[in-house]
Each structure stands twice: as C-alpha cells, then as structure tokens.
C-alpha cells in the first residue's frame, strides 16, 4: 500500500516539476511523500495534497489543463492509499479482493469529478461572476449539513 502512495506521488512530482522553474517544488513533494509513506496516519498526506493543489492553482495556464487532469486522480489516489495504509500494518499481505470495493468507489468518484471538470471547462472564468460564489456557498451548506448529520 505504501508503494501505491509512491506510485501515485510520481505523476504529482513530475507535473509540478514540469510546471515549475526550480527544483524546490520537486524537493518539497519528495519530502512530503517520504513523510506520507513513513507515517500515512500523520498530516503528511494532507500537506502533500494541499501543497500540490495550491501549487497547481496558482501556476499559469488554463484551469482545466492536462496537468490538472492528471493531478486529480493522483491526489485522490494518494488520499485513498494513505487512508488504507494508515489502518493496515506494515508487511501485511493484502488480498486483491479486499481492494475491489475501494477501487470501484474510486472509479465512481473520478467519473463524477471529471463531469465537474468538463462543466468547469465550459463555464466562463473571471472574478466578476457573483453567481459562482452563491453556488459555492449553497454547495458548502449542503456538504456541511450532510457531513454533520453523518457524524
């Protein structure tokens, strides 16, 4: 499972390195990946996902470019694999059948996310659209309500 974290972090590191002008992003991602692999239950995965997301958001280019499309499943895979690695001890023999349900759920989430990405690709971008904020707040209220009910 820890190997899967590394494999998922490789495209993240490559995309960030290609979009950056220095080695700093690459070194940060490598460091955070090592932290995540060694301690998947720590804040390492959150820092890795958060850093990669912010670095991509404030980089130049179209919002739905190839790098972003590669990064979406990669960051989600880092989240899922580190979540499972945190509960499965090291040197545990994992049966593939045990990963069938998480894999199916991963695919469903990615399909929905790419639909959202397709929607984001067609809507106009800009800072003067107030409707987006209203939609965001509404969506946030729904999300918080659903999560609060489940907790």
């Amino acid at each position: 499972m820890r190997l899967m974290i590394v494999l998922a972090a490789v495209p993240v590191a490559v995309v960030l390195h290609l979009e950056a002008t220095s080695l700093v992003p690459l070194l940060i991602v490598v460091g955070l990946t090592v932290l995540t692999v060694l301690m998947p239950g720590s804040a390492g995965p959150a820092l890795l996902i958060g850093y990669a997301a912010l670095a991509m958001a404030f980089a130049d280019g179209h919002p739905v470019r190839l790098g972003v499309l590669i990064m979406i499943p990669a960051l989600h895979l880092i989240h899922v694999t580190s979540a499972l690695a945190a509960v499965v001890p090291v040197k545990t023999r994992i049966e593939l059948a045990a990963l069938k349900a998480p894999a199916r759920r991963f695919a469903i989430v990615q399909v929905i996310t790419f639909v959202v990405a397709a929607f984001a690709a067609v809507i106009p971008s800009g800072a003067g659209i107030g409707l987006v904020e209203v939609l965001g707040l509404g969506a946030l209220t729904v999300v918080i309500g659903v999560v609060a009910l489940r907790i």
Binding site: G41, A57, Q110, A120, G136, V143
Partner: protein
C-alpha cells in the same frame, strides 16, 4: 473533569472496540471542503476540482454500524505437538476490510470473506499460547475503523512426548518382590488369571485347546501381569542447564524449559520411562526432589501416565533453585530413577543414602556433554573443565557406592 482526564478520554475514543473516524476522515472533510470553498472564493477552479474527490469520498460512504468480530474454532483437545489446523470465522458486520494478525503474518481480507484456515505450530512441550488473533476492521476507504482489538488468547498445554523404548535396556526390577502385590491386570507371567472366550487380538499360542475342544468355542488362557515393582522417578528441577556454560546464568524466553537442556532431557526421559514401565504393568510414582508437594503417588494404567506427564509440566513450571533435596516415604524395595545433572554433592549424597536404604538406584545424568566453555572469558575453558572433572568424580563415587550410573541420556 480535569485536563488529564479529557486527554485520556480523547485517546481512548481514538482506538478500541468501537467505530471511530480516522485521520483520513478529518482530512477528507476539512481539506476537501477547504479546497472547494477556497476555489470558489479565489476563482480557482483547480482547487475545486482537487477538493471534489475528497468531499465525494465522504459523501459516498457512511459510518459503519454493528460489531464485527473474529472467532476461532477451538483446537481439538487431543491434538498434540506438530502442526495443528483450525479455522477463523470473520464476521465483518458493516466493515469493508478486515486485518487479522495470523500466525504467518497479518492479512488484509474482505470483511465478508469465508472462514480463514489457520495453521498453528506447536514446537515445544509445556504450556503456551496457541493463538491470539488481534484484528482491526476498516470501513469504506479506511475513513472509519473498528479496533485494533486484542484477540482472545487460546492457551494450551502440550504434554512431554513419549518415546517408546524396547523393554531390554530398562533397569532390572527388584528381586523377590515381583508377585507379592499381584496386579489385577492381564499380562505375561506364568500364573493363570482366567480362561475366557477368544477375542480379536488374542495370541494364538494362548488358546487353551482342552477347553476349546470340550466347549466347541475357542478359549484362551489369561495370565497375571508381573506388575509389582514400584518405580520412583525422581526429578531434580533445581537447575536447567545446557551444554554452553556461558548460558547457564542467563534467563530463557519462549519455552518452559531450555530446549535440549538438562530439564528438557530429564522430563522427556521421565515421560518415556514412565510409559515404558506402565506399559509393562509396573507401578510408577513421580517425585520432585525440591518440591515434595508436587509428587505423584504410584499408580498404573494409561490415565496414570497422563497424570505423570501433566505433573511433569507442573514441576517444570515451578522449577527453580531450592536449598535442599529430599526423597522421603519410598516404598520398600523400590527402584529409584534419579534424573539430575548432578552439579552438586547434595544430590550425589542423596543417591548414595537411598542406595544404602536398600533401594535400587539408577542415576541418569541429564547434563549435556561435552560442555562448551565461555568463549568471552579467559577462564572459560578452565571453569568448564573444572565443572566437568567434578561431575566425573561425582558420578564415579556414586558408582562405587552401588548406584547404577548412566553418563548420558
């Protein structure tokens, strides 16, 4: 509630046998929502797209309910040493993945998989833990977890093994006593016990042709057993030493007795000798030289062999140094089998005194020879040679006083 109590309660809520959210759940909620909201307000669709999968992973899953558990089918009581097989039943409830720590290593399996075969290795005799299946159940995507739960310990006691020896090398029984206390059991003596109908397993040479001819039904002659000799197995449990002198003072872990050590050899030999004597119909008793309360009175039969083997395990569990050894209330004319490494004069003196009281004494040396000196000490070889020389002298002096001595077992 004090701060310490609050911290303790927070820690206890974060693990144990109940469903609780993991760090991944907090990450998915806070980071996911944070990215979506930040993306909305900062007009950065990338942040929204990165946050959506995390939020969806929370929305598509629900907190599991129910109490998952792992149970093990008990191992049959008669199963002895070697490899034993059983199965573990995993009841996953709402869980998705079960992580079970099996003897061969931890395994992550679907929570609703069929029974798991479990292989248990039983290498050494004595008490021990067969199996303890620590386990943990994870909900969808590992966002909730049940456990880790420490499994129930399945303990067992393996009796010392019995090696079957031919009756030839066994020590002679005391002359003049055989036949005084006649055993009710059938055996091979010359005295007639009964004439009965032939049964499968009877020897053809025992057929009584006269009775058979008269009755028309095959009859056999049953004879009494020569089962009157009292065998006393005397075990010296004060020391458990191996061939390596450097290890004598170091503690041992993982086994009741040091494998291949003096106590292990003594117990194995005692169990085998008890089985051999009892098979011949003799009465056998067990004496712990330093703990008389653990003695087993003499008896016969298969159940008595079980009793002796069980008590041998108890003796070894209670083994330890004792200031003196004692061999009291011996039946008159009994054969005393003394199993000891003979590392001090007191045990040699006891053997000689017992011989002087008219008993036949067989001293079996359980000290593994040749001794291996301590390589880290300059005096290692000298010390080992000194111990070996004293040991030889002790055995020779016992032999001079009429004690039958075997140098190794």
């Amino acid at each position: 509630m004090s701060s310490a109590d609050k911290i303790r309660e927070a820690f206890s809520q974060a693990h144990g046998a109940h469903w609780h959210p993991t760090d991944a759940y907090s990450r998915a909620v806070w980071l996911g929502v944070g990215l979506v909201v930040a993306g909305m307000f900062l007009h950065q669709p990338e942040l929204v797209l990165f946050g959506v999968p995390l939020v969806l992973s929370v929305l598509l899953t629900s907190k599991p309910r129910g109490k998952p558990a792992v149970s093990v089918r008990p191992v049959p009581r008669g199963a002895g040493a070697g490899v034993v097989h059983t199965v573990a039943h995993v009841d996953g409830a709402d869980a998705e993945i079960a992580v079970v720590k099996l003897p061969g290593g931890a395994r992550a399996i679907p929570a609703h998989s069929p029974d798991l075969p479990v292989q248990i290795r039983r290498d050494a005799w004595g008490p021990g833990v067969d199996l303890r299946l620590d386990h943990l159940f994870a909900g969808p995507d590992g966002l909730h977890v049940y456990g880790p739960v420490v499994g129930v310990e399945h303990v067992r006691t393996i009796l010392p093994p019995v090696e079957h020896h031919p009756s030839g090398p066994l020590p002679p029984r005391p002359a003049g006593l055989v036949g005084i206390h006649r055993s009710p059991r059938a055996g091979d003596s010359t005295e007639l016990r009964d004439i009965r109908a032939f049964q499968p397993g009877d020897r053809l040479r025992r057929i009584d042709w006269r009775v058979t001819t008269r009755t028309g039904v095959v009859h056999v002659r049953e004879r009494h057993a020569e089962a009157d000799a009292e065998i006393v197995l005397a075990l010296d449990t004060r020391a458990d030493v191996g061939a390596e002198v450097a290890e004598w003072s170091s503690p041992r872990y993982g086994a009741t007795a040091r494998p291949g050590g003096s106590l292990d050899r003594a117990v194995r030999r005692a169990a085998s000798m008890a089985a051999g004597y009892l098979r011949q119909g003799d009465r056998v008793a067990l004496v712990d030289l330093s703990r008389p309360q653990l003695n087993v009175r003499s008896g016969v039969g298969r159940r008595h062999l079980l009793r002796i083997r069980t008590q041998l395990v108890v003796c070894v569990q209670a083994a330890g140094w004792s200031s003196h050894v004692a061999l009291r209330r011996l039946p008159h004319g009994s054969v005393v089998v003394l199993l000891s490494p003979f590392l001090d004069d007191e045990i040699a003196e006891l053997a000689v005194q017992t011989r002087r009281h008219g008993h036949v004494v067989l001293a079996i040396n359980t000290l593994p020879l040749e001794l291996v000196p301590d390589p880290e000490s300059a005096w290692g070889e000298v010390a080992a040679e000194l111990i070996a020389a004293e040991h030889r002298v002790r055995l020779r002096r016992m032999a001079e006083h009429g004690v039958a001595v075997t140098r190794s077992c």
